[in-house]
């Protein structure tokens, strides 16, 4: 049994109580993923599983046998930032930085969801597959990630810039 974390095969923990979050932080020493509330209320622990954003604190690691998990360390590295990370830097998308890995992981997957045409609560026509990523759409789609510093405007600016870049 193994879980593939950032491309590396990792043995599933013997104790089924170990969360995916504790697996990456405590056993793999990948400290980018943060433990905020540990109860699914803040989004700081967001990782990608087979490209989809999920909360690693509510995930029992044993359930993810055979799946591909991407943490922030798999998205960008110091000196090789993901373009979205660079945009966060340029737009002051953080202050203390604690929520940032979760914000970046969530935003990367969110941009895929927009491309795929997944509707949101603020979508006008629920059957439309071409999502117009207005500010309101981005706010709603990122609402699962809290930022207690209140860097929301910078975060949205960074994401909006990425969308513009991608559209070029």
């Amino acid at each position: 049994m193994s879980i593939f974390v950032n491309g590396q095969a990792v043995a599933c923990p013997d104790d089924p109580r170990v969360s995916l979050l504790d697996l990456v932080r405590e056993r793999l020493q990948l400290h980018g993923t943060k433990k905020g509330c540990d109860q699914g209320a803040c989004g700081a622990c967001t990782v990608l599983v087979d490209g989809q954003r999920m909360l690693s604190c509510l995930a029992l690691a044993v359930q993810y046998d055979g799946r591909a998990v991407t943490t922030i360390e798999g998205i960008g590295q110091q000196g090789h930032l993901h373009p979205l990370q660079q945009a966060f830097v340029e737009h002051d998308g953080f202050q203390c930085g604690y929520c940032t890995p979760g914000q970046v992981c969530a935003a990367v997957a969110m941009l895929d969801e927009v491309k795929r045409g997944v509707p949101s609560y603020v979508s006008g026509d629920i059957t439309a597959t071409g999502i117009v990523p207005t500010r309101e759409e981005l706010q709603e789609r990122m609402s699962g990630n809290l930022c207690r510093c209140g860097a929301y405007n910078g975060i949205l600016d960074a994401i909006a810039e990425q969308l513009e870049e991608a559209a070029k």
């Binding site: 995930a59 029992l60 969801e113």
Partner: protein, 328 residues
Amino acid sequence: MTPFTYARASDAADAVRRGTANAAKFLGGGTNLVDLMRETLERPAALVDVTGLSQGIDLTPAGGLLIGAAARNTAVAEHMEVRTRYEVLARAIVAGASAQIRNMATVGGNLLQRTRCAYFYDNEGSRCNKREPGQGCDAIDGFHRGHAIFGASPACVAVHPSDMCVALATLDAVVHVEGSAGARTVAFADFHRLPGDRPDLDTVLAPGELVTAVELPPLGPGARSAYRKVRDRASYAFALVSVAAVVEMRDGRVEDVRIALGGVAHKPWRATKAEAALRGRPAMATAFAEAADAELAGAQPLRDNGFKVELAHRTICAVLAGLTREAA
């Protein structure tokens, strides 16, 4: 968390067989159960992972949809048959939780969510009949602005937290379940319980019974549906009040209507009195207000949640006005 064993079920029969073990629980996406286990509110000795069971979303011979209990919330909300034919369901799902949680949570698990009553969660400091039957309820005289205005009992005033289930109540969905005594179906309206003197029981499921699918009957060709949720912040919060409605119009009259309310009772509250008051009447603001009056006359608010009566009234009227305008 207290220690437990973990096993993946290969199919429904395997799940049911494993689920009969002492203190076993079925595990879906874990978005509620894992949290409850961490708080030691749930202490299963065995977890049976049922996420490998049916995730299908398939047309039924009757022309409806059969949704496997392991289908993720996102998969249902983005499915084009759901979006085009059951808008209320897609809208309700995307009104709930966050994208991350919707990617994990299953349809079966959504039905089996426990209440978010803070006293239920306060293991150490509060009395709760849902957590510990017979202990008493600290919510009734406590901080209860989010609690029930319909169907509560002296034992429990908690509300059901789901958005999806409010939509399913208006769609007359059918819940498919399987247990050691065989398979059966339960009408959605009968699936969740009012608290009575057993608030520890949320549903009519027998011990060890597994939800395998949710079936949606077809809607009339002219039916329109909508979901509106009112909460303390714009997103990622449970409902103070929500309204799901399905309307069929003919010649300016409300031919048929189904309305359900969320955030107001121990189960999704089907507003049958409002429906009866509106059926056959012209689609006018006075008719909507009288329908809302008919239902809300039966509301029994607590000390601090009387605002929900007014809020439900306005939301019912707004949803009906929007829908009948579209459907006319």
